[in-house]
Symmetry: C2
Subunit: 285 residues, 2 copies
């Protein structure tokens, strides 16, 4: 059994590869739910939907969210009538979100994901990190912002000072998946807003200490390959480099995968982790 910890932007591309080489029946993906919230009356779990679409070969590979070749008829009409949506939701994608909203009311998020995953013909287990709302706020130089307001309305431009989110409990199956895995892969998602929320769940760091953990670094040089990762790392006083990433995960990390542009970091990283794999991660990211 292999478990992957996933956010939205960085990890799905890695999953595209993993799903070709790992028996999907032996694969569990634990997905960040930090920024899940209601928009236009539907529950949006952006990272989960991205993972679902990736595993179902439906993902829009240009932006890594939403459905390939989707239309935006409702979205565009909403804008026309003065009710613009913060998130760009396509017509096929909206069906996923309408269904998930209804399923959550009946069964909770975990079971909702299971039903949707089955319907899309996905054999791997996709588990939300939690059934609970994280109530995230980004503290910035222009005040406290909702996550998507920061990301989309303000295009990640304000200076990040801190990140606040409520402590939530792991969904059923999260700790068990880690305990039952011979290896856990931490995908190249934002270490602060995508991976740390999973690590902060009760029991996750402890469980990770007892299995082989491989992290793919989302940083090349001092730049995050996608999303505002470097901004958040800086705000929290973390070095923006693969060393900073390894440091965040050091109490349980065995192997780190970095880009060959960063090969000079090997000896420094070897003081933190057992093994450093140097490869062309920039192709992945």
């Amino acid at each position: 059994m292999i478990t992957v910890l996933s956010g939205g932007t960085g990890t799905p591309k890695l999953l595209q590869g993993i799903k070709e080489i790992v028996d999907p029946e032996e694969l569990t993906i634990i997905v960040n739910t930090l920024e899940n919230d209601y928009f236009s009356g539907v529950y949006v779990s952006a990272d989960i939907d991205t993972v679902l679409y990736t595993m179902a070969d439906m993902i829009n590979e240009e932006v890594w969210y939403g459905v390939k070749d989707d239309t935006f008829i409702t979205h565009e009409r909403l804008e026309e009538i003065g009710c613009a949506e913060l998130l760009r939701i396509g017509d096929i994608d909206r069906a996923t979100k309408i269904q998930k909203t209804q399923l959550i009311e009946k069964y909770g998020l975990k079971k909702a994901c299971e039903i949707q995953s089955d319907k899309m013909g996905i054999k791997a287990d996709i588990i939300p990190m939690s059934e609970e709302n994280s109530d995230i706020k980004i503290v910035t130089d222009i005040g406290e912002l909702e996550f998507h307001d920061f990301l989309i309305k303000h295009r990640s431009e304000p200076v990040v000072e801190d990140l606040k989110f409520s402590k939530v409990n792991p969904a059923e199956g999260v700790i068990e998946a880690i305990n039952n895995s011979c290896a856990v892969i931490i995908g190249p998602s934002n270490p602060i807003t995508s991976i740390s929320p999973i690590l902060s769940l009760e029991g996750v760091r402890e469980a990770l200490k007892n299995t082989h953990v491989i992290a793919v670094s989302p940083i090349i040089g001092s730049d995050a390959v996608s999303g505002p990762a470097s901004k958040f790392m800086k705000a929290l006083g973390i070095e923006v480099s693969s060393v900073g990433v390894a440091d965040l995960y050091k109490d349980f990390l065995d192997t780190i995968v970095i880009d060959d542009k960063d090969s000079q970091l090997k000896s420094q990283l070897n003081q933190i982790v057992n093994k450093v794999i140097i490869t062309n991660t920039h192709k992945l990211l």
Copy 2:
């Protein structure tokens, strides 16, 4: 000022004509809200939307609900993933419903209609009969059914025994519109499920007594021209004919418009109302 009392199926076609001859600034349409309810997470006020689309020249004239040339991408996808919608909601139509749901939460239904009507460039006043939920149930030989379950899931097939709905208050402007009108036109909608709910509002029948009221009969011979009107009339022991319709409205009705196929009813109708207009209503219906 002219006021029209409207349901969904019968009256919009009449409105298409009225809006060509009455100055829209002098026109108020009071719309039935009996069957308003939430579907797929959005508030559906079918009759109001039909009136909005009719007045904005957007109505689908084949079925007299929804938007002309609309697509059904989300609707069809929902069916595909095992979450079929009871109502067939198009992609453009869904935007109207998403917006109305949000506007209702903020402002209530009346103001929501006003904002949407303005956005669609409609000059007439479109007022919901009430801001409150009517909580309607159809009592049938197979048990109590929700209105749309009866109409769509059971295709109006069960034998109707009774109709129950809660007493609601008129929206602001309903009584005033009638009081300020030189004539009130009752459209050829279902007298039981579309018009009676409006008439049952506190003060409406009293106000109608003080103005000239013209009803266009929705019955030709002993058949309702659209929808299950005859079924409901029978259930409540009302004669299924224009005479039965006139009888329902007799305490305030001045003029009834009937189809020329029913000209033999003239003398009988003249015992109930002052004036009988015989014309080709079947073209209208």
